[in-house]
């Protein structure tokens, strides 16, 4: 293994419509500089990331940040790490986090009389 996914940070729960930030920490555990990339999906939808790939020094950990909008159901975000072997991208490690959909509690506000009239 070269690109070790150390951890994936994302909220455990969110409301529909929230922006979910997924931080994938990847460590270069090889003894040489490596081009490392991360891809991810929630369900079957791709998650865009801030960088396509980064050049990572031996022992260095980088955080690749992606985001998506929380849909109206709980989702699993799965991430994969890749490294460049000089001719192609090689799939290396994977991990996932589950994000539960938070139910919105019933709330009322701004209850006011607007007008009254004889009908």
């Amino acid at each position: 293994m070269v690109a070790d996914i150390v951890k994936i940070d994302a909220p455990a729960s969110a409301l529909v419509g929230d922006t979910i930030i997924v931080d994938v920490s990847v460590k270069n555990i090889s003894s040489a500089d490596q081009y490392i990339a991360v891809t991810a999906v929630y369900d079957s939808t791709g998650i865009p990331f801030q960088f396509d790939y980064l050049l990572v020094s031996p022992g260095q950990t980088v955080i690749m940040r992606g985001n998506f909008t929380m849909p109206s159901k709980s989702v699993r975000a799965t991430a994969w790490s890749w490294y460049w072997d000089g001719s192609q991208w090689v799939l290396d490690d994977s991990g996932y986090v589950d994000i539960a959909l938070e139910a919105i509690s019933l709330q009322f506000r701004e209850f006011v009389v607007s007008d009254y009239a004889v009908v």
Partner: protein
């Protein structure tokens, strides 16, 4: 001239249908109906509630409800705050005249939503006479 009178009459009818703002006095005679309109913002799951309004008098022991009106209101599932208009009709038949009334409304099943109230805004008018004069007299 007749057409102009009709237009004026229609305009007056339209004006009567337009509600007055909270705090403004409205005079009614027993038997007329009052339409109260309110708005509320909702967030969360879909629910159905009873929009309840009462005409009466706010006293030291609470609101003495003389006449009430109620109607069912449906709220959709809202993931963002959504404003709903609601209206209900209160029949004033049988009310004592020459009194002043208060109005309040609520969602019967959700007291936490609030109970907006406007006091001393409805006058129940009694019969009035004017231009009382002798027009003629003759041997009967």
């Amino acid at each position: 001239m007749r057409g102009r009178m009709n237009t004026l009459s229609e305009a007056e009818q339209i004006l009567e249908q337009v509600g007055v703002a909270p705090g403004t006095k409205l005079t009614v005679v027993p038997g007329e109906k009052i339409r109260l309109t309110a708005t509320i913002q909702h967030l969360g799951p879909a629910v159905t509630a009873t929009f309840y309004a009462a005409l009466g008098n706010r006293g030291s022991l609470g609101f003495d409800e003389w006449r009430v009106g109620q109607t069912s209101v449906s709220f959709n599932q809202d993931t963002v705050w959504n404003t709903y208009p609601m209206s209900v009709v209160i029949d004033t038949t049988g009310l004592n005249t020459n009194t002043s009334c208060d109005l309040y409304c609520k969602l019967a099943e959700y007291p936490g939503a609030g109970m907006p109230e406007v006091d001393n805004v409805i006058d129940i008018a009694g019969a009035t006479f004017q231009n009382f004069s002798i027009t003629d007299y003759s041997k009967a």
